[in-house]
């Protein structure tokens, strides 16, 4: 369903980025990079006072002709960015939320691994498997 999934660290460098059509990987990298600005904008718009109540799911960051970008921020300022194909109209907001929730859960599992140093690239196979299950099956 998603064509690109990225996990961005607090310092805005990618911890994990993966896209389905390999040839468009660079384009998705750029997309994710530019979407970070939108993420920061949304986060700051919430206001400092609402940090506690800030919802983790940011929603649609910005749509383009080909795809839509969704964002999700954790309380530790780790961002999940998901690029979805626009042609996939059947994808509802709830599904996106559930996908982000799964991402978040898998990310916490990776964090729980004592052998994982926060800030390293994510090499967890379980995480990879989960992301693969969410990626769109592009033939």
């Amino acid at each position: 369903m998603a064509v690109c999934i990225a996990v961005i660290a607090k310092e805005n460098y990618p911890l994990y980025i993966r896209s389905i059509p390999a040839e468009q990987e660079l384009k998705f990298h750029y997309t994710v990079h530019t979407s970070l600005d939108v993420v920061d904008e949304k986060v700051s718009a919430m206001g400092k006072a609402l940090v506690d109540q800030r919802e983790l799911y940011l929603g649609l960051l910005y749509p383009t002709e080909d795809y839509k970008v969704y964002g999700y921020v954790t309380n530790s300022k780790v961002k999940f960015v998901m690029v979805v194909d626009s042609s996939n109209t059947a994808l509802r907001d709830n599904e996106i939320r559930s996908m982000f929730r799964k991402l978040h859960n898998s990310y916490t599992d990776v964090m729980c691994n004592p052998f994982y140093n926060p800030g390293d690239r994510i090499h967890s196979r379980a995480f990879d498997n989960m992301v693969t299950s969410m990626m769109v099956q592009v033939c």
């Binding site: 691994n113 994982y116 196979r125």
Partner: protein, 768 residues
């Protein structure tokens, strides 16, 4: 079959092998696993093996007799020597080296042979072969991994061709066999495509296929687990010399694993079938793991924190990435800590990895953390060969269970019983009270409230005011009503659950006249009061109390005299306000009394009435049914009338009716709100009307909601009664307020008139 002449070494070797394969000691070896492994370990092409089998006559006989076995072994040697397989070659080929089975085994065999020749030499070679094992890994393991790595990495199928160890040593064959097992994944390339004639070939082909499949499926089919290597390796030096050496090296390596344990484990391994789950943990291994666990965490039921585990496993010098993966596999519940089972699984995986076995993608079922004792795990480990086969099909279920680690941990018994076959899902347990449950609680509460009706009701309005403060939600302090409500509120609010809030609201809403009986239903009037926030009942009550006491029929219990006119319906309120208003109200109230019979059918509430301390159960019975009936009409007017009748009931009966009403209405508190609103919209001129309407609405809603709510009639009755009570109280309060305001208005008007007159008198002068 021709006669077979064997040299002494051959004789010894062959007999040893035969005895190893002849597990049933029947002097004829069927085509069992051992033989298959043996031949596979010979690293001969399948066709050659088939040919050998045919030549030796096993296919003809269907089993390997001793002679056939010897012939087969001889032929294996012939084939390994590169000579064509001929029946005649059995005896013709001279100086044929002993058939070699498995490269590493050959190494071992070489070591064994050397050991046979001279123990010291063997030791030397042995020690020389054994590379300094990694920090944690035992010497044996290191050497085993060394061996394992060699054949795995390369296609060395023709390694050292030292003769096989003679059967002099106690368990000579087993190591060879285990060696073969070990070599299966690595050296048995030829064997992989083995499509053996007999069924006994299939398992190994599967095993090899499985192993060649990238270690995707380890359970059952994969080559013997590293434990076997470890075990076998430990077994290879069965002699005391090696044993002695190992402990020393072990101690040097600061590993605890004991040779003795390894040896015993090896023996046990030997006993078990070769089809065992390769990932099974033997008893000795498990014991070793447990000991290691104890060094970190003395409590076997405790956890090893992630940091400690990280340090521990880092000592194994495995790459962090692999350790991370091992952790992912073994930390079943993803809690960042390792239980004993998880630790054993992790340790086992580390051992496997060190021996060169790739890590599985999923945790093998035998390594699944089970909340069982060590004995049980040992039993699992000693399962027969079927486990190996069942392991692969069971791979799917275990793969599911990792997805629900919390369940596996939470329901260990279920998990164990359906160990790898079912997903344990939690049984929903109701933690929050259902509506019926809440109603039952309300009933209990009301019943208990009824038990102490008089005392709170006897409290003076002052106390009521205090209680009002306590129950901030209760705005109006209608003497006993408030008192009762507050008492009921406090009573109900004590141990209640979530439902209480609702019930409390309900009780707040209804200042039922039944204050004598501690209003079981929390005063529903609360919402109503919130609506009529403009009306400060606290402020007005002290004022109205006096008035009402004068003019209102005093209720038998200490209920502050409810203002008779309190239950003036909307149209009445709109009447010109004057002192007579009160009177008219009061006058109307008696008139309304007859209406009460329409109010509710309190026959239902007779039970409650009886339980109440009410002195007028009959009236209540009448009123409640009237109330109910009126409520059921669900008309705004009816509700107003209900409100009036509520006031009536309040006036007439002290506690019972309201109590009942309160009880009945308690569970139905929420519904009245919309009706209240509706009524409010109708009578918006006066907040009192709203109060009335609210109260009536409560009752109306209660009654209207009755049919909608499939509750027991008793509960409905109670709800209705509660609502009636509340409405009555509300009516009373509103009536009082109304009267007061009317009086004030009159006074103000009079003042105004006087002022105007004065002004008029003065004005002419001003004009002048």
């Amino acid at each position: 079959m021709e006669g077979l002449t064997l040299s002494d070494a051959e004789q010894k070797y062959y007999s040893d092998l035969f005895s190893y394969c002849d597990i049933e000691s029947t002097k004829k070896v069927a085509s069992n696993g051992r033989v298959v492994e043996l031949f596979r370990a010979a690293q001969l092409p399948n066709e050659v093996v088939l040919q050998i089998m045919e030549l030796c006559g096993a296919t003809r006989l269907g089993y390997f007799g001793r002679s056939q076995f010897y012939i087969a072994l001889k032929l294996v040697a012939v084939a390994q020597s590169g000579l064509p397989l001929r029946v005649e070659s059995i005896n013709t080929v001279k100086d044929l080296p002993l058939p070699r089975f498995g490269a590493s085994k050959n190494e071992q065999e070489s070591r064994h042979t050397t050991s046979y020749s001279s123990d010291t030499e063997n030791q030397g070679s042995y020690s020389g072969v054994i590379p300094p094992p990694p920090g944690r890994v035992q010497v044996k393991k290191g050497s085993v991994s060394h061996d394992a790595v060699q054949p795995r990495t390369s296609t060395d199928q023709q390694e050292s061709t030292s003769p096989v160890v003679s059967p002099q040593q106690s368990p000579p064959t087993s190591p060879h066999t285990w060696r073969k097992h070990n070599r299966h994944p690595s050296g048995g390339n030829n064997e992989r495509s083995l499509a053996g004639p007999g069924p006994f070939w299939s398992p190994f082909s599967e095993a090899q296929t499985g192993s060649s499949a990238g270690d995707a499926v380890w359970s059952g089919h994969s080559p013997p687990p590293p434990q076997e290597n470890w075990v076998s390796f430990a077994d290879t030096p069965p002699t005391s010399t090696l044993l002695a050496m190992h402990p020393a090296s072990v101690q040097d390596q600061t590993t605890v694993r004991t040779v003795a344990s390894a040896t015993t484990a090896n023996e046990i391994r030997r006993q078990s079938s070769s089809y065992d789950d390769p990932w099974k943990i033997t008893d000795e291994q498990r014991q070793y793991y447990v000991n290691q666990f104890k060094t970190i965490q003395p409590d076997l039921n405790g956890f090893i924190p992630g940091s400690a585990a990280k340090e521990f496993f880092t000592k194994s010098k495995l790459p962090i990435l692999e350790l991370s993966h091992i952790w992912e596999l073994s930390d079943f519940d993803k809690d960042g800590a390792l239980t004993l089972d998880e630790f054993c699984a992790a340790f086992h995986l580390v051992v496997a990895r060190k021996n060169g076995y790739d890590l599985p993608e999923k945790l093998p079922e035998s390594l699944m953390p089970k909340l069982i004792d060590l004995e049980d795990s040992a039993d699992v480990g000693d399962q027969s060969g079927e486990v190996g086969y069942s392991g692969s099909p069971a791979e799917a279920p275990p793969s599911k269970s990792p997805s629900m680690p919390s369940l596996n941990q939470t329901w260990p018994e279920l998990n164990q019983s359906s160990e790898d076959t079912a997903i344990v899902h939690p049984v929903p347990i109701r933690m929050t009270p259902s509506k019926i449950h809440m109603q039952e609680m309300e009933l209990k509460r009301t019943g208990s409230d009824h038990t102490n009706p008089t005392s709170p009701l006897l409290v003076k309005p002052s106390d009521l005011s205090e209680e009002n403060k306590i129950n901030s939600s209760v705005k109006f302090v209608s003497g006993n009503t408030v008192d009762g409500y507050s008492s009921s509120d406090s009573f109900t609010s004590d141990p209640e659950q979530i439902g209480n809030a609702v019930t409390r609201q309900r009780s707040h809403s209804g200042t039922s006249p039944d204050n004598t009986a501690p209003p079981p239903p929390p005063p529903r009037p609360h919402p109503s009061h919130s609506r009529s926030s403009s009306l400060d009942m606290n402020r007005t009550f002290p004022v109205t109390t006096g008035q009402q006491q004068a003019g209102v029929v005093a209720h038998p219990p200490a209920v502050p005299p409810r203002p008779q006119p309190s239950q003036v319906p909307g149209p009445h309120v709109h009447r010109p306000v004057d002192a007579e208003g009160l009177i008219t109200h009061t006058s109307t109230s008696p008139q309304q009394i007859p209406e009460q019979p329409n109010f509710a059918d309190f026959s239902q509430f007779e039970v409650f009435a009886a339980s109440n301390v009410n002195e007028e159960p009959d009236d209540e019975a009448e009123k409640h049914p009237e109330v109910l009936q009126v409520e059921k009409s669900s008309d705004p007017s009816g509700s107003l009338r209900v409100a009036k009748t509520d006031g009536r009931i309040e006036e007439k009966t002290a506690a019972s009716a309201p109590a009942n009403v309160g009880k009945s209405t308690t569970p139905l508190a929420p519904p009245p709100k919309p009706i209240r609103r509706r009524l409010k919209s109708e009578d918006e001129l006066r907040p009192e009307v709203d109060e009335h309407s609210q109260k009536t609405g409560v009752l109306a809603a209660v009654l209207s909601s009755q049919p909608s709510i499939p509750r027991s009639v008793g509960k409905d009755k109670k709800a209705i009664q509660a609502s009636i009570r509340r409405n009555k109280e509300t009516n009373t309060v509103l009536a009082r307020l109304n009267s007061e305001l009317q009086q004030q208005l009159k006074d103000v008007l009079e003042e105004r008139i006087s002022l105007e007159v004065q002004l008029e008198q003065l004005r002419p002068f001003s004009h002048l």
